[in-house]
Amino acid sequence: MSGVVDVKLARSHGLTESEYQHILDGLGRVPTLVELGILSVMWSEHCSYKSSRRHLKNLPTEAPWVLQGPGENAGVIDVGDGQAVAFKMESHNHPSFIEPYQGAATGVGGIMRDVFTMGARPIANLNSLRFGRLESPRMRFLLGGVVAGIGGYGNCMGVPTVGGEIAFDPSYDGNILVNAFTLGVLPSDRIFRSAAGAVGSPVVYVGSKTGRDGIHGATMASEEFGKESEEKRPRVQVGDPFTEKKLLEACLELMQEDVIVAIQDMGAAGLTSSSCEMASRGGKGIEIDVERVPRRETGMNAYEVMLSESQERMLMVVKDGTFERVRAIFEKWDLSVAVIGHITDTQRVVIKEAETVVADLPVGLIVDDAPSYDRPQQRPNLEARWTLPNLAPGGLGPRLLGLLARPTIASKRLVYEQYDSSVRAATIQGPGRADAAVVRLPDLNGAPSATQKKGVAMSADMNGRYCQLDPRRGALLGVLEAARNLACVGAEPKGLTDCLNFGNPEKPEVMWSFVECIHGLAEGCKALGVPVVSGNVSLYNETEGRAILPTPSVVMVGLIEDVTRTAPLGFADPGDRILLLGRLDRLGLGGSELVAMETAELLGRPAEPHLPEVLATHRAGIQLVRAGLVKSAHDVAEGGVLVALAESCVAGARRFGAEIDLPGQGELLARAFGEGASVIVISAAPERVAEVLAMAKGAGAEITEIGTVGGERLIWPGHLSVSVAELHDAWANGLGRALAAV
C-alpha cells in the first residue's frame, strides 16, 4: 500500500469523496495513513450504521425489566431473584460466504464474546441461517462448512446450541446468511459496560496475540460482492475456540473481583473500534502504544496492529494498581496480557508507535461526526405480485408429502446433531423437540442447579418471502411467529434481538423495504410489549446486482417460571384429542411454501394478522401449557396446518397417526396449507378437554376440536389419507435427499 494519503487511497478504503472531504475539513489537515485506516473502518456501514441509525430509533427499546438496551455489547433484561440474562444476535454473512467454516466459527466466537463482555456466562446459542439452491455443489459445500464451523466453535466452548432456523431460497445463492445468537446469565447488580473510567487508568489488552488476520473485515462487510471479492480472501480470520474458552473463564474469574472499570471485546475493526468506543462512551480520551500490543507475527506496522481483526481479544480499563491481579489470572490461563496505554482527559484517540505519534484524532470526529445518511426510498409495485396463481384443486396427499420434504420444512436433524445441545446439563427442550428451545437457568454463580425452577425459552424466526411481498407485514409476522413459538412452550415473551439482513441500501427499493421492515418489527414488539434490547445490521448482501430477500431475523427470549411445565411439539398418546387454538380462516396462501413449491415464484400477499386474536391465542397457549393441560403444542407456520399436524404425528419421541376434520368452508388448499399468524395445534387427554376449552375461552381465544391422535395414518375423511411411514420418510429424509441429489 502506498503511504501517500489522498482521495484515491481514501476511496480504496471504502470512503466516498465527500466523506474524505469531511475528514479534511474536520482535521484541518491530511490524515496520516493510520488515521485514514481508523476513520475508514469507524465510518464503514458495519461500525457506524450510517444508513440505518436514524431508522433503528423507531424500535421500542424500553420496558421496566430492561437493564441494558441497545448501545452496549449485548442487551440485558432482569429475570428476577437477582438474576439477569444478556443476549444479542450478530451476522457473519460475508466472511462465511468466502470461507464457510472459519466465517461461521468466528461469527459464533464474536457473539459469545459480546455476551461475556457484559459479565454474563453464555448458556445457550442459536443460529439463523439462509442458503440458496442445494442443487449447486458450492451451496452444499457452504452449508456443510457453516454447520461444521458453528459446531466447531460452540461445542468447544461448552455452550449448547439449542435451536435456530434454516431456510432456503434462490435469492441467497450469492449471499448466504449466518446469524448467530448467544444468551448468557449474570447477577443483575453486576453488569459490565464499556465506558472508559478515570483519567490515568491503565488500558489492558488480554487474550490472543495480534496477527495480520482480517485486516479490513469491517469494510468487507460493508461492500457488495463482485468478481473481485475472490481476491479479498486472505482477509478471513481464523477462530480459536480453545483460546476463547480460556478467555471466558479468565474474564469471569476476574469479574468476581473489583478490578474492571470498562471492558470491550475486539470484534470488527479490532483495537480501533474497541478503543474509540470506550473513549467515546466514557467521554474521555485514550492513548495507546502499539509497540506494547502482544503480536504473533513480526514486522507488523501500526496500521496493521490497529486494524487487525485477530479474534479472541479483549480490551479493559482497570483500576489503577490492580494490574498485577489481572496479570496473575490471565497468566494462569496461558493468555497474553499487557498494559498498552491509558485513559486521558483529552477526548482524543492518540496512537503511538514507541515515541512517534502515528494518529491523533478527536473522538468526536471518529464517532459523533461519522456520516449518517437518509438514503432515498422507493416503494416498488408490490401489488403486481399479490395475485395468487390458480393451483390445480385437490391432491392433498402428494402435496403434503412434497411440502414435508422441502428443505425449508424437512427435519434439520442432519444439521443439529452436529451441535452439542446438551452440555451444561440444563437443556429441557433441545433442537427438534419443541417450538422453542428451553434451558433451565443456572444458579447465581452460573453453575448448573438442580433446584432452579426458572428457565428461558428462545425462538429464531423470520420469513424472507413474506418480507419481500410485504415488508412491513412480513416483519410483523416474523415477530408474531417467534412469540407464538414461545407460547407453545409456555413462555412469556420478554425481549427481542434482531439481525437486519438486506441488500444494497443505496438502492431505493432496498432502503424502502429496510425501513418498512423496521416498522413491522416495531409494530409487533409494541403489540406484544416486548422491547428490542440489542441487534445488528448487515447490508450489502448483494452479488452482481442481485439482492437477498429482506431478512430481518429475530430471536425472541421468554421466561418460564416452572421448567417442569413445558410442552413438546409431538403428540404423546393415542386417544388424545387434537384442538386448534386460533382461527384457521385467517390464514392464506400468499407467499406460502405451497405456492413456492408449485410455481417456483413469489406470489400473493401474506395473510393479515389480527392482533387482538393473536394475543388471545398466545395467552391461551401459555396458560394451557403452564397449567399442564396440554400434552403437545405446535404452531402453524410454513406449509400450513396439515404440515403442522403431520409434524406432530412424526416428529415426537413416538410416532402416531391421527384422524381430523378441518373446520371452515373456504377453498380447500388454503384451509390445508394456508399460512399466517395465530394458529396453534394442541393435544390433550380426552378427560381434560372440557378444562382446556374453558381455559382457552377464558383467555378470549378461539378454540376448535378437530380430531383424535392414533392409528397408522393421517386421515381427513374425504380429502386425505397418508401413512405415518410415508409422512415420516418425507420429513425425516427430505434434507438428506436434497443434499445427496446432484
Partner: protein, 78 residues
C-alpha cells in the same frame, strides 16, 4: 504410483493447534522448539500414470479439493 500432497496453512494464518503442540513439546523438555504448525498429508494411490502427468493431475486435485486455498497452500511430492 503413490504420491503425497502436503497441505499446510498459509503464512500468517493462525494455527492454534500448532501453538498448543509447540507448547507441550517445550514442556516435555524439547526446549529447542521455536514453533510448530500442523498440516495434512494426503497419500494418493494413482495406479499406473506417467510421472509428469501425475504431477499435473495432483496439482489440479490440490487446487480443486485437497487444499482450501483461502487459507492453505499445498505441495505435491512424488
Amino acid at each position: 504410483m503413490h504420491a503425497r500432497v502436503l497441505v499446510t496453512l498459509k503464512k500468517g494464518v493462525l494455527d492454534p493447534a500448532g501453538e498448543a503442540v509447540a507448547g507441550s513439546l517445550r514442556q516435555l523438555g524439547f526446549e529447542e522448539v521455536r514453533g510448530a504448525r500442523i498440516g495434512k498429508v494426503i497419500e494418493i494411490d494413482l495406479g499406473d500414470v506417467p510421472q509428469a502427468e501425475a504431477e499435473k493431475r495432483l496439482r489440479e486435485m490440490g487446487q480443486k479439493l485437497l487444499a482450501n486455498t483461502v487459507i492453505e497452500d499445498f505441495e505435491v511430492v512424488l
